[in-house]
Symmetry: C2
Subunit: 361 residues, 2 copies
DNA sequence: TTGTACGCGTTATCAT
DNA sequence: ATGATAACGCGTACAA
């Protein structure tokens, strides 16, 4: 019944791929235990009980042969891959690594593997990556700021998806993230209370919610008589923050506070501001967004907004798992993560009139 | 021949998992094109050519039905999953994210998906994670500093593996990494030339090559009359660097330079040193290891050793791909990545006799 | 309680 | 040049 390879099989060493030792199959276990494959299968995952004697023999055979079921063969039957995909926009951004970290634990608990894709710049084209991924996973966690094309495709597919960062446009779907506008408004109020009057926002044109943060900032300063200007960078990186620093700081009307779209931009901005001979926060306050851990190690340390990156990942994964399990409640709805302003040394109060005189409170 | 589901299938809406729309199979395509499944298969990936007419019909059917092959079914017969696993020790460490980034591109080029696992502390047990992963991938990229248990298991399995960080103990295997001892010696020589004489090394007991770096450091100071002391932290993190700072710096015999096992520890050390009222680098020089990008944004910026994280990931993936392809040359051998000292503001020369007098060169 | 047999979607072999 | 069909390893309805 078992097709043993002939002892004198033709030499295969010339074939391209090395022949892998065949792993034990459910049939091997059944044979070793003297039962049928059905018995083995039911015992191992059906949860059905058998006579003490049979269970013992099967368990022993499994141990002896080091058997574990072939996920592909199982997947063909069950329609499940046992994998979930997570797509990030840049693994090197600590915001995303925290997100991944947050998603890892519930995934591991549910016995799901993480199929990971980074679609930063030239790394991989969004749509094909998504399409390839979707054949190998039971569900996806993706950024809500994918291309419209990618979003549209996901909308038509019936793959369980949870978006992070915010709800994607108008779709009826499931998402987890902060209220970008409200969070930015909180940060804005902090700056307003500190007496700032000449603001710059360094946005990131690639992010859908850069605009929301800008609106939140404006909202916070409504009626204050403060001036708000906006710049945009093409990539949310420290390098871009460095590059745009002189444009932002050395213009005709120098700002007394700069709000960056995220902490990476803020980091570059902070370094370059000091390189330009300005003092932070005495000459200008600088803030970021996301609360990446490295904002603590600059000097001054970076004031920022905690966007709950890790919690976002965790909640997104839990939602996805529920969704994969068929929970109808998880099919749609936006879950809000609480955000809060983290005040550190890079922001400082301004005296009512003159400038750069140190703390006011 | 084709078993179409009956139009009036029993209602399945009560079953736990939502019924997923069935994707088009190769049989659907074959039927639509009026050819056999064999023809479709060969045309799509065998590379075999057919009459213009047949190819046209097949291509059309594929387009119409949005067909793409089922990776699980394909894997059953080819024995390939199309995935490679990458196991990191902590996603939040930028060293590892750079490694992942480096590995991503060649993987994508080869059409391989990345199955990712983070085995930081309590996140996931090493061996079971590895075992689960190994059934779902064609090869693995793992740290050479896994547990002995995990390493031993990998040794007996015939899964293609490439280790990063250095060669694991004594095994005959394939690995990519730097020469930790030599790299540390380079850094040591830099410090020696700067006139440092009271050194501290903050090692990480969990890393196999922390010891090698310590040896390299000692080697650099051989015959210099300098004192070298060693501390150890239990986790390679900024928090641990902070925690151990006072012990390292405020002892009876204060050091004039501290070398940390990696940049994260150095970051914590740097911050806390300044919090303790010491000036870096005037009172004490501090260096890290790995050249994570955030070392540029502290002040002073962190002197470190570039360990080629991204290049390591890239080379490891290329080796793995060769190994999966059956290239016998990739079966074993240690590939060395060049490392270099990155001198920044956190190290400063010491005058021959007195201390803390500023630059000597 | 246990076993048989079929089907999942694909590729490879062999026949035409 | 094209087609029929046997695997691949598993889960499960159904038969015993």
């Amino acid at each position: 019944m078992n097709h043993e390879p002939a002892p004198d099989a033709p030499d295969l060493s010339a074939t391209a791929a090395p022949r892998r030792r065949r792993a034990a199959t459910i049939r091997d276990v059944a044979q070793a235990a003297g039962v049928s494959t059905a018995t083995v299968s039911k015992f191992l995952n059906g949860g059905q009980r058998f006579t003490r004697e049979v269970e013992e023999r099967v368990a022993q055979a499994v141990r002896d042969l080091g058997y574990s079921s072939n996920p592909m063969a199982r997947g063909m039957i069950t329609g499940r891959t046992g994998n979930v995909g997570i797509v990030v926009l840049d693994v090197r951004n600590p915001h995303f690594t925290s997100l991944i970290r947050g998603a890892s634990r519930p995934a591991a608990e549910a016995g799901l593997n993480l199929l990971f894709a980074d679609i930063a710049e030239g790394l991989a084209p969004e749509l094909p990556t998504l399409q390839a991924l979707s054949r190998r996973v039971d569900g996806l966690i993706v950024s809500a700021r994918l291309s419209d094309e990618a979003l549209a495709w996901l909308g038509t597919s019936d793959m369980p998806v949870v978006y992070y960062g915010g709800p994607p446009a108008q779709q009826d779907c499931s998402s987890v993230g902060i209220d970008n506008r409200a969070a930015a408004a909180m940060l804005g109020r902090h700056l307003r209370e500190l007496g700032h009057r000449r603001l710059r926002y360094v946005g990131f044109s690639g992010a859908r919610w850069s605009q929301e943060r800008w609106l939140g900032l404006q909202q916070a300063f409504e009626g204050s008589g403060a001036e708000l200007h906006r710049h945009d960078v093409a990539e949310a990186s420290a390098d871009e923050g460095e590059r745009i620093a002189s444009e932002v700081l050395l213009g005709a009307d120098a700002p007394d506070a700069v709000v960056a779209y995220n902490d990476l931009i803020a980091l570059g901005l902070l370094g370059q501001t000091q390189a330009l001979g300005l003092s932070v926060p005495r000459d200008v306050s600088i803030t970021g967004f996301d609360n990446i851990v490295y904002g603590r190690y600059t000097s001054p340390a970076l004031t920022t907004v905690d966007s709950g990156s890790e919690q976002t990942g965790e909640r997104a994964m839990r939602r996805l798992i529920a969704r994969i399990g068929g929970d109808p409640a998880a099919r749609s709805g936006h879950e809000l993560i609480a955000s809060r302003v983290i005040v550190r040394g890079s922001t400082l109060g301004r005296p009512a009139v003159s400038r750069g005189e140190g703390r006011t409170r």
